[in-house]
Protein backbone atom coordinates (compact mmCIF):
# COMPACT_ATOMS: atom_id res chain seq x y z
CA UNK A 1 0.00 0.00 0.00
CA UNK A 2 2.85 2.30 0.93
CA UNK A 3 4.67 1.40 -2.32
CA UNK A 4 1.62 2.20 -4.37
CA UNK A 5 1.11 5.45 -2.57
CA UNK A 6 4.76 6.41 -3.02
CA UNK A 7 4.93 5.55 -6.71
CA UNK A 8 1.74 7.35 -7.45
CA UNK A 9 2.88 10.37 -5.50
CA UNK A 10 4.48 12.84 -7.91
CA UNK A 11 5.99 14.89 -5.08
CA UNK A 12 7.73 11.76 -3.79
CA UNK A 13 9.14 11.01 -7.22
CA UNK A 14 10.55 14.51 -7.52
CA UNK A 15 11.97 14.32 -4.04
CA UNK A 16 13.66 10.98 -4.78
CA UNK A 17 15.14 12.28 -8.04
CA UNK A 18 16.59 15.35 -6.32
CA UNK A 19 18.14 13.24 -3.58
CA UNK A 20 19.65 10.74 -6.02
CA UNK A 21 21.05 13.56 -8.17
CA UNK A 22 22.54 15.36 -5.20
CA UNK A 23 24.13 12.18 -3.85
CA UNK A 24 25.59 11.45 -7.29
CA UNK A 25 26.97 14.98 -7.56
CA UNK A 26 28.53 14.78 -4.09
CA UNK A 27 30.14 11.43 -4.98
CA UNK A 28 31.55 12.90 -8.20
CA UNK A 29 32.99 15.88 -6.31
CA UNK A 30 34.53 13.68 -3.60
CA UNK A 31 36.04 11.22 -6.09
CA UNK A 32 37.47 14.18 -8.02
CA UNK A 33 39.01 15.38 -4.77
CA UNK A 34 40.48 11.95 -4.02
CA UNK A 35 41.96 11.76 -7.52
CA UNK A 36 43.46 15.23 -7.08
CA UNK A 37 45.04 14.25 -3.73
CA UNK A 38 46.41 11.01 -5.24
CA UNK A 39 47.95 12.85 -8.21
CA UNK A 40 49.46 15.53 -5.99
CA UNK A 41 50.96 13.12 -3.44
CA UNK A 42 52.26 10.57 -5.94
CA UNK A 43 53.35 13.18 -8.47
CA UNK A 44 56.86 13.26 -9.90
CA UNK A 45 57.81 16.52 -8.18
CA UNK A 46 57.11 15.20 -4.66
CA UNK A 47 58.64 11.77 -5.28
CA UNK A 48 61.79 13.18 -6.88
CA UNK A 49 62.33 15.46 -3.90
CA UNK A 50 61.59 12.75 -1.37
CA UNK A 51 63.90 10.15 -2.95
CA UNK A 52 66.81 12.53 -3.59
CA UNK A 53 66.73 13.82 -0.01
CA UNK A 54 66.46 10.26 1.31
CA UNK A 55 69.45 9.11 -0.73
CA UNK A 56 71.52 12.16 0.28
CA UNK A 57 70.81 11.42 3.96
CA UNK A 58 71.66 7.73 3.50
CA UNK A 59 75.01 8.69 1.96
CA UNK A 60 75.71 11.18 4.74
CA UNK A 61 75.06 8.47 7.32
CA UNK A 62 77.18 5.84 5.60
CA UNK A 63 80.81 4.74 5.92
CA UNK A 64 82.89 2.79 3.38
CA UNK A 65 82.60 0.01 2.31
CA UNK A 66 78.82 -0.33 2.30
CA UNK A 67 76.01 -1.41 -0.04
CA UNK A 68 72.50 -0.06 0.49
CA UNK A 69 69.42 -1.39 -1.24
CA UNK A 70 66.63 1.17 -1.48
CA UNK A 71 63.13 0.08 -2.45
CA UNK A 72 61.80 2.53 -5.06
CA UNK A 73 58.57 0.88 -6.25
CA UNK A 74 56.67 4.11 -6.83
CA UNK A 75 59.63 5.76 -8.54
CA UNK A 76 60.13 2.86 -10.98
CA UNK A 77 56.41 2.82 -11.86
CA UNK A 78 56.31 6.55 -12.50
CA UNK A 79 59.58 6.54 -14.45
CA UNK A 80 58.29 3.73 -16.67
CA UNK A 81 55.09 5.70 -17.29
CA UNK A 82 57.14 8.78 -18.21
CA UNK A 83 59.59 6.77 -20.35
CA UNK A 84 62.67 7.36 -18.19
CA UNK A 85 65.15 4.42 -18.43
CA UNK A 86 65.70 2.47 -15.19
CA UNK A 87 69.38 3.36 -15.07
CA UNK A 88 68.75 7.08 -15.33
CA UNK A 89 66.44 7.46 -12.35
CA UNK A 90 69.22 8.15 -9.83
CA UNK A 91 72.41 9.89 -10.81
CA UNK A 92 75.25 10.86 -8.50
CA UNK A 93 77.91 13.32 -9.58
CA UNK A 94 80.51 14.83 -7.26
CA UNK A 95 78.49 15.45 -4.09
CA UNK A 96 75.07 15.85 -5.69
CA UNK A 97 72.24 13.29 -6.00
CA UNK A 98 69.74 13.83 -8.81
CA UNK A 99 66.50 11.86 -9.09
CA UNK A 100 64.58 12.12 -12.36
CA UNK A 101 61.11 10.63 -12.80
CA UNK A 102 59.71 12.77 -15.59
CA UNK A 103 61.01 14.44 -18.74
CA UNK A 104 61.20 17.76 -16.90
CA UNK A 105 64.56 18.16 -15.12
CA UNK A 106 64.55 16.21 -11.86
CA UNK A 107 65.48 17.16 -8.31
CA UNK A 108 69.01 17.51 -6.92
CA UNK A 109 70.28 17.56 -3.35
CA UNK A 110 73.82 17.63 -2.02
CA UNK A 111 75.55 15.50 0.60
CA UNK A 112 78.58 16.41 2.70
CA UNK A 113 80.14 12.96 3.20
CA UNK A 114 83.26 12.94 1.00
CA UNK A 115 82.88 9.42 -0.37
CA UNK A 116 83.13 7.75 -3.74
CA UNK A 117 79.55 6.59 -4.47
CA UNK A 118 77.95 4.69 -7.31
CA UNK A 119 74.26 4.02 -7.84
CA UNK A 120 72.64 1.51 -10.16
CA UNK A 121 69.25 -0.17 -10.62
CA UNK A 122 68.78 -3.69 -9.27
CA UNK A 123 68.31 -6.60 -11.72
CA UNK A 124 64.97 -6.47 -13.60
CA UNK A 125 62.16 -6.87 -12.41
CA UNK A 126 63.27 -5.78 -8.91
CA UNK A 127 62.33 -2.21 -8.21
CA UNK A 128 65.31 -1.35 -6.01
CA UNK A 129 68.27 0.94 -6.39
CA UNK A 130 71.66 -0.06 -5.04
CA UNK A 131 73.79 2.68 -3.53
CA UNK A 132 77.38 1.53 -3.20
CA UNK A 133 79.85 3.40 -0.99
CA UNK A 134 83.21 2.42 -2.45
CA UNK A 135 85.57 4.40 -0.24
CA UNK A 136 86.67 7.84 0.86
CA UNK A 137 87.83 10.19 -1.89
Amino acid sequence: MFKERFLKNKKGEEHLLWNVLSILLILIILSGLLLFVHIKINGAVILEQSYSKNIALLIDASTPVMDMKLNMDKAFDLAEKNKIPRDEIVQIENNIVTVRLSQKGGYSYSFFNDVDVSAYADIYPNKNYIIKINGYK
Binding site: S22, L25, F36, L57, D60
Partner: protein
Protein backbone atom coordinates in the same frame (compact mmCIF):
# COMPACT_ATOMS: atom_id res chain seq x y z
CA UNK B 1 10.61 36.36 -11.87
CA UNK B 2 12.38 33.01 -11.49
CA UNK B 3 13.61 34.03 -8.04
CA UNK B 4 10.10 35.04 -7.08
CA UNK B 5 8.78 31.73 -8.32
CA UNK B 6 11.27 29.73 -6.21
CA UNK B 7 10.97 31.78 -3.06
CA UNK B 8 7.21 32.11 -3.15
CA UNK B 9 6.78 28.43 -3.84
CA UNK B 10 6.87 26.43 -0.62
CA UNK B 11 7.71 23.24 -2.48
CA UNK B 12 10.87 24.93 -3.87
CA UNK B 13 12.41 24.88 -0.37
CA UNK B 14 13.66 21.33 -0.88
CA UNK B 15 15.53 22.24 -4.05
CA UNK B 16 17.17 25.18 -2.32
CA UNK B 17 18.29 22.88 0.50
CA UNK B 18 19.89 20.53 -2.05
CA UNK B 19 21.65 23.44 -3.77
CA UNK B 20 22.82 24.62 -0.35
CA UNK B 21 24.15 21.12 0.43
CA UNK B 22 26.03 20.98 -2.88
CA UNK B 23 27.49 24.43 -2.26
CA UNK B 24 28.67 23.23 1.16
CA UNK B 25 30.30 20.16 -0.41
CA UNK B 26 32.09 22.44 -2.89
CA UNK B 27 33.36 24.63 -0.05
CA UNK B 28 34.60 21.63 2.00
CA UNK B 29 36.20 19.96 -1.06
CA UNK B 30 37.82 23.27 -2.03
CA UNK B 31 39.21 23.64 1.48
CA UNK B 32 40.64 20.12 1.44
CA UNK B 33 42.14 20.67 -2.01
CA UNK B 34 43.71 23.90 -0.74
CA UNK B 35 45.24 22.07 2.23
CA UNK B 36 46.66 19.38 -0.07
CA UNK B 37 48.13 22.10 -2.31
CA UNK B 38 49.79 23.75 0.69
CA UNK B 39 51.15 20.37 1.88
CA UNK B 40 52.36 19.37 -1.58
CA UNK B 41 53.90 22.77 -2.17
CA UNK B 42 56.03 22.72 0.99
CA UNK B 43 59.39 20.97 0.65
CA UNK B 44 60.45 18.27 3.11
CA UNK B 45 62.59 19.93 5.74
CA UNK B 46 65.54 17.64 6.48
CA UNK B 47 67.95 20.24 7.87
CA UNK B 48 67.65 19.00 11.43
CA UNK B 49 68.56 15.45 10.40
CA UNK B 50 71.44 16.78 8.29
CA UNK B 51 72.77 18.84 11.21
CA UNK B 52 72.57 15.76 13.48
CA UNK B 53 74.35 13.55 10.93
CA UNK B 54 77.10 16.13 10.48
CA UNK B 55 77.49 16.38 14.26
CA UNK B 56 77.77 12.59 14.62
CA UNK B 57 80.26 12.37 11.77
CA UNK B 58 82.46 15.05 13.34
CA UNK B 59 82.17 13.34 16.75
CA UNK B 60 83.29 9.99 15.27
CA UNK B 61 86.21 11.71 13.55
CA UNK B 62 87.41 13.52 16.67
CA UNK B 63 86.96 10.73 19.15
CA UNK B 64 86.42 7.04 18.59
CA UNK B 65 85.94 4.46 21.35
CA UNK B 66 86.45 7.13 24.01
CA UNK B 67 89.90 8.19 22.69
CA UNK B 68 90.62 11.50 20.98
CA UNK B 69 92.17 11.17 17.53
CA UNK B 70 95.89 11.94 17.86
CA UNK B 71 95.65 14.33 14.94
CA UNK B 72 93.73 16.70 17.24
CA UNK B 73 95.35 16.29 20.67
CA UNK B 74 98.60 14.43 21.31
CA UNK B 75 100.14 14.12 24.79
CA UNK B 76 98.01 16.99 26.05
CA UNK B 77 99.04 19.31 23.22
CA UNK B 78 96.67 20.76 20.61
CA UNK B 79 97.53 19.63 17.08
CA UNK B 80 95.16 20.16 14.13
CA UNK B 81 92.71 23.05 14.11
CA UNK B 82 90.77 21.99 11.03
CA UNK B 83 88.66 19.03 9.96
CA UNK B 84 90.64 18.11 6.84
CA UNK B 85 90.99 14.49 7.95
CA UNK B 86 87.23 14.07 8.58
CA UNK B 87 86.19 13.41 4.94
CA UNK B 88 83.74 16.30 4.71
CA UNK B 89 82.91 17.94 1.41
CA UNK B 90 81.09 21.28 1.42
CA UNK B 91 82.09 22.10 -2.15
CA UNK B 92 79.93 24.91 -3.49
CA UNK B 93 77.89 24.99 -0.27
CA UNK B 94 80.33 26.48 2.24
CA UNK B 95 77.78 29.15 3.09
CA UNK B 96 75.13 26.60 4.01
CA UNK B 97 76.95 24.93 6.93
CA UNK B 98 78.61 25.91 10.19
CA UNK B 99 80.43 23.81 12.79
CA UNK B 100 82.18 24.58 16.04
CA UNK B 101 84.06 22.06 18.15
CA UNK B 102 85.23 23.19 21.56
CA UNK B 103 87.59 21.12 23.71
CA UNK B 104 87.62 21.75 27.48
CA UNK B 105 90.18 20.37 29.90
CA UNK B 106 88.07 18.69 32.58
CA UNK B 107 89.97 20.64 35.27
CA UNK B 108 89.02 24.00 33.71
CA UNK B 109 85.57 23.99 32.14
CA UNK B 110 85.36 27.80 31.99
CA UNK B 111 88.12 28.25 29.45
CA UNK B 112 88.32 26.28 26.26
CA UNK B 113 91.48 24.29 25.59
CA UNK B 114 91.08 24.34 21.81
CA UNK B 115 88.43 25.40 19.30
CA UNK B 116 87.78 24.44 15.68
CA UNK B 117 85.30 26.45 13.61
CA UNK B 118 84.39 26.35 9.97
CA UNK B 119 81.79 27.12 7.30
CA UNK B 120 79.58 30.20 7.38
CA UNK B 121 80.48 31.86 10.70
CA UNK B 122 77.38 34.10 10.55
CA UNK B 123 75.18 31.08 11.20
CA UNK B 124 76.42 30.83 14.78
CA UNK B 125 74.41 33.87 15.79
CA UNK B 126 70.94 32.57 14.99
CA UNK B 127 69.73 29.00 14.76
CA UNK B 128 67.08 26.85 16.37
CA UNK B 129 67.42 23.50 18.08
CA UNK B 130 64.47 21.19 18.79
CA UNK B 131 61.87 23.80 17.99
CA UNK B 132 59.78 24.62 14.95
CA UNK B 133 61.03 27.77 13.33
CA UNK B 134 61.16 27.61 9.55
CA UNK B 135 62.93 30.90 9.11
CA UNK B 136 65.96 30.03 11.18
CA UNK B 137 68.79 27.67 10.27
CA UNK B 138 68.57 24.32 12.06
CA UNK B 139 71.19 23.26 14.55
CA UNK B 140 72.29 20.24 16.56
CA UNK B 141 74.65 20.06 19.51
CA UNK B 142 76.07 17.59 21.95
CA UNK B 143 78.90 17.23 24.41
CA UNK B 144 80.81 14.16 25.49
CA UNK B 145 83.76 13.00 27.55
CA UNK B 146 86.95 11.65 26.01
CA UNK B 147 90.61 10.89 26.81
CA UNK B 148 93.76 11.67 24.86
CA UNK B 149 96.65 9.22 24.42
CA UNK B 150 98.12 10.30 27.78
CA UNK B 151 94.81 9.78 29.60
CA UNK B 152 94.18 13.51 30.00
CA UNK B 153 90.45 14.06 30.29
CA UNK B 154 88.41 16.41 28.11
CA UNK B 155 84.84 17.49 27.53
CA UNK B 156 84.16 18.06 23.84
CA UNK B 157 81.23 20.20 22.70
CA UNK B 158 80.06 20.08 19.10
CA UNK B 159 77.64 22.48 17.44
CA UNK B 160 76.52 22.14 13.81
CA UNK B 161 74.15 24.40 11.87
CA UNK B 162 72.57 23.88 8.45
CA UNK B 163 70.94 26.72 6.49
CA UNK B 164 69.80 25.41 3.06
CA UNK B 165 66.64 27.56 3.01
CA UNK B 166 66.07 27.25 -0.72
CA UNK B 167 65.55 23.48 -0.72
CA UNK B 168 63.89 23.05 2.67
CA UNK B 169 61.69 26.06 3.31
CA UNK B 170 58.67 27.18 1.32
CA UNK B 171 59.39 30.45 -0.51
Amino acid sequence: MVTNKIFLNKRGGEEIMVLYLIAMVFVVAGGLAGMVLIFAGSPYDIREIEATLLMEKIADCISYGGRINENFILNGTAQNTNLDICHLNFEGEEEEFFYKITFYDIKDLDNSFMEIRGGNLNLEASYSINEYSENLPKGAEKSFYSLDNSDNQYIIKILTVVKKFEQNVKK
